[in-house]
C-alpha cells in the first residue's frame, strides 16, 4: 500500500516540472502512465461468495465479499454476473464503498450463475476472483418464523383445551373480581334511596366483545333490581343491542320469579347518533336522578359527557370498558372502573358461560407463558450470556 503511494508521489513531482504548453506529447503519455500506475495501487475485493436467499419465493441470490484494502480510496464496487451459457459477465449493480454485500433480485430459478465484484475508482475497475456457482430457488417453509408457529400451536392448544373442559362442565376457577362487590353495594344503595338505576351497555354493536360482556352483567344487575323491586333504565344506541338487552332483562326478571314486575319501557332505543345519544342520556340523568349509573361496554369520546353529568348528579358510578382511550376519564369520573379484561372476566365470572370461561383461562395461561419466557430469557442472557435474542 505504501509503495503504491510512493510511486504516485514521485510521478506527481516529475509531472509538475514539465510545463504543459511546451511539450504536449510528453505530458499525455505521462498522464497515461500515471493513471495506469494508479490501477496497480487498487487491490480487488476478496473471498467473493454467493448463495440462494433463504426463506424467499426464489428469484434472488445474496452476494458477499471482503472489502478491498484500498476501500477508503474507492468510489464503490460494481457487481457483475455470468449466467450459465451466457457469453460474458454483465454488470447488474453498483454499490457505495464500505458495503460488503448485495442482493441480486432478478435471477431465474434453476439457472446457474457466477458473480464477481470489481473495485471501482473513476474509470479504473479491478475484478475479483469469480464466486462459486449458485442457483436461486423458493422454499416451502420460512425457518425465520418457527417461533411464530411454536407460539401459535401452543396458544391454539390452550384455548381448545380449556374450552373443551369448560364445555364438559368441569369447574374452572376464576377469582372474584373486586368490581363486582361494588355492584352489589351500589344496587343496595339505590334501593334504600328508592331511586332508579341507569345501565348503559355501551354504544357499540353486537359484534363487539365488550357489548356481549356488558349485556351479561346487565342480566345480573337486572336480577337484583327484580328482587329489590328497584326501577331500572336501559337506554340503547344500537337497534340490535336494544332488542337483545330487552330479552336479557325480561329473562332475568322471570328467572327471579318476578315476570310481572318487568316493565318493557324500561329498556328503549334512543338514537344511533353518538352525541345526540349522550345529550339524551344527560337529560335522563338530570330528570330521573338515578342513584347508581352503570356504563359497561365499548364507548367513544361521548363517555366524557355521560360520566361528567352523572358525577355532577351525585350518583355512584361503576364503569367497565376495554376502550383504552376512554378508561382515564372513567377512572377519574367514576367510583369504580373495570379495566379492559376485568370486564370480560366479570362477565365470565357471573355468567359461567363455557365459551367465555375457556377463552379466559386459555389467555391467562398465555400470559403465564409470556412472563415465563421473559424471566427465563433475561436470566439466561444475564447469567450465561447466551445469545437469547436470536430466539425472537
Amino acid at each position: 500500500m505504501i509503495t503504491s503511494i510512493l510511486i504516485v508521489f514521485t510521478q506527481l513531482e516529475i509531472f509538475r516540472k514539465i510545463s504543459w504548453k511546451k511539450n504536449r506529447f510528453m505530458k499525455t503519455t505521462f498522464l497515461l502512465i500515471f493513471l495506469t500506475g494508479l490501477s496497480f495501487a487498487i487491490s480487488p475485493p476478496t473471498d467473493v461468495r454467493a448463495w440462494d436467499s433463504p426463506n424467499d419465493a426464489g428469484g434472488s441470490i445474496n452476494i458477499a465479499w471482503r472489502i478491498s484494502p484500498d476501500d477508503p480510496m474507492l468510489d464503490g464496487y460494481e457487481i457483475s454476473r455470468l449466467a450459465e451459457g451466457a457469453a460474458d459477465y454483465e454488470p447488474i449493480g453498483f454499490i457505495g464503498k464500505t458495503r460488503n454485500s448485495y442482493t441480486d433480485e432478478e435471477t431465474r430459478d434453476g439457472v446457474k450463475y457466477q458473480y464477481r465484484v470489481a473495485a471501482v475508482k473513476d474509470t479504473i475497475m479491478v475484478y475479483s476472483e469469480p464466486s462459486n456457482y449458485v442457483q436461486s430457488s423458493s422454499q416451502w417453509f420460512n425457518t425465520d418464523r418457527i417461533n411464530v408457529l411454536v407460539f401459535a400451536t401452543l396458544f391454539i392448544f390452550l384455548i381448545l383445551w380449556f374450552t373443551s373442559r369448560a364445555k364438559k362442565g368441569m369447574s374452572l376457577f376464576i377469582r372474584k373480581i373486586a368490581g363486582l362487590d361494588a355492584v352489589e353495594e351500589a344496587v343496595g344503595r339505590a334501593t334504600e334511596m328508592g331511586r332508579p338505576i341507569l345501565y348503559i351497555p355501551g354504544l357499540s354493536t353486537m359484534a363487539d366483545v365488550a357489548t356481549i360482556a356488558g349485556l351479561n352483567i346487565l342480566g345480573e344487575v337486572a336480577k337484583k333490581t327484580a328482587q329489590y323491586d328497584t326501577k331500572i333504565i336501559v337506554p340503547n344506541r344500537d337497534p340490535i343491542v336494544y332488542t337483545v338487552a330487552r330479552e336479557v332483562v325480561k329473562e332475568s326478571y322471570t328467572q327471579v320469579g318476578r315476570p310481572d314486575a318487568f316493565n318493557p319501557d324500561s329498556v328503549f332505543f334512543v338514537t344511533d347518533s353518538q352525541f345526540a345519544f349522550a345529550a339524551a342520556v344527560d337529560g335522563i340523568m338530570t330528570r330521573e336522578k338515578p342513584a347508581t349509573n352503570f356504563f359497561m361496554g365499548y364507548f367513544w369520546a361521548e363517555s366524557l359527557i355521560i360520566a361528567e353529568t352523572g358525577a355532577s348528579t351525585g350518583a355512584i358510578q361503576i364503569a367497565g370498558s376495554d376502550a383504552v382511550m376512554q378508561l382515564p376519564f372513567f377512572i377519574t369520573a367514576c367510583d369504580y372502573t373495570l379495566i379492559g379484561e376485568e370486564l370480560y372476566a366479570a362477565s365470565a365470572y357471573l355468567s359461567r358461560e363455557p365459551l367465555l370461561l375457556g377463552a379466559l383461562k386459555g389467555q391467562d395461561y398465555g400470559k403465564a407463558v409470556i412472563i415465563g419466557v421473559l424471566l427465563a430469557a433475561t436470566l439466561l442472557a444475564l447469567i450465561a450470556n447466551l445469545p437469547v435474542l436470536r430466539l425472537f
Binding site: F275, E308, V324, I331, G366
Partner: protein
C-alpha cells in the same frame, strides 16, 4: 345447512389467511396476492351495500313510522342521493359527464359543486366542529368530574398533571427538567403499562379470531338473521 356452510367457509379462509405468512413459496404467494387484489377487494367493495343499505332502511323506517325527528331523515336521504349523483356522474376530479360547475351570469365567478368541493366545504367543517365540541366537554368534566376520589385516581391525576404541564410548550422551555420527567413517564412506566395491556389485548383478540375460525364463536352468525 344455513350454519354449516358459513362455518366451513370461515374455517377454510381462516387457514388460507394464515398460511402465506409461514410458507414463502412462489405458488402460495402468487395465489395469496391474486386472492387479495381481486376476490377480497371486490367482495369488500360490495360490503358497502350493507352499510349504506342499513342507513337508508333505518331512515326510511323512521319516516314511515313517524318516529321522533323523522323529518330530518329526509335531509339525510336527499343529501345522500344528490352527493352520490354528483360523485358518480360528475367524476372524482370533476371530469365526468355531469358538468359540476357553472359561471354565475354577469360575473366571472365560477360556482363549483364537484365532490371535492362538497367534501372540503361541508364534510370538513361539520366533522371537525363535531369533534371540537370535545374541548368544551373536557373543560366542564375537568371542573365537575375529575376527582382524586381514590388512590388510583390520585396517581392518574398526578401523572396527568406532569404530562399536561410538559405538553405546554411555554412551560417545557422554562422548565426543561419537567419536560424531561414527562418524557421519562412516557418512555418508561407508560411503556411498561401499555405493553402489559398490549399483551392482554393481543391474546384476547387472537383468542377471538381463533374462536371465529374454529366455529366456537358464532355470535356473528346470529347477529345477522
Amino acid at each position: 345447512m344455513k350454519r354449516r356452510i358459513p362455518l366451513a367457509i370461515v374455517f377454510i379462509f381462516g387457514v388460507l389467511g394464515a398460511i402465506p405468512f409461514l410458507i414463502p413459496h412462489r405458488i402460495i404467494q402468487n395465489a395469496d396476492n391474486e386472492f387479495r387484489s381481486s376476490i377480497l377487494r371486490i367482495i369488500v367493495a360490495f360490503s358497502l351495500v350493507l352499510g349504506v343499505g342499513s342507513i337508508i332502511r333505518h331512515h326510511f323506517q323512521k319516516i314511515r313510522r313517524k318516529k321522533e325527528n323523522w323529518q330530518y331523515s329526509y335531509i339525510t336521504l336527499i343529501a345522500l342521493v344528490i352527493s352520490a349523483i354528483i360523485g358518480l356522474f360528475g367524476g372524482i376530479d370533476a371530469r365526468g359527464m355531469l358538468p359540476t360547475q357553472f359561471t354565475v351570469p354577469f360575473t366571472e365567478y365560477v360556482f363549483r359543486f364537484d365532490i371535492q368541493t362538497l367534501y372540503t366545504n361541508i364534510m370538513v367543517p361539520l366533522a371537525a366542529t363535531m369533534f371540537s365540541l370535545l374541548a368544551f366537554f373536557m373543560t366542564s368534566a375537568a371542573y365537575r368530574a375529575f376527582r382524586a376520589r381514590n388512590v388510583e385516581a390520585t396517581i392518574l391525576l398526578l401523572s396527568a398533571f406532569v404530562v399536561m404541564l410538559a405538553a405546554v410548550p411555554l412551560v417545557s422551555s422554562f422548565f426543561p427538567k419537567l419536560s424531561a420527567f414527562s418524557e421519562w413517564i412516557l418512555t418508561v412506566p407508560n411503556t411498561a403499562a401499555k405493553r402489559g395491556l398490549l399483551f392482554g389485548i393481543a391474546l384476547g383478540s387472537m383468542a377471538t379470531s381463533l374462536k371465529i375460525i374454529l366455529g366456537i364463536e358464532r355470535g356473528w352468525l346470529g347477529g345477522t338473521s
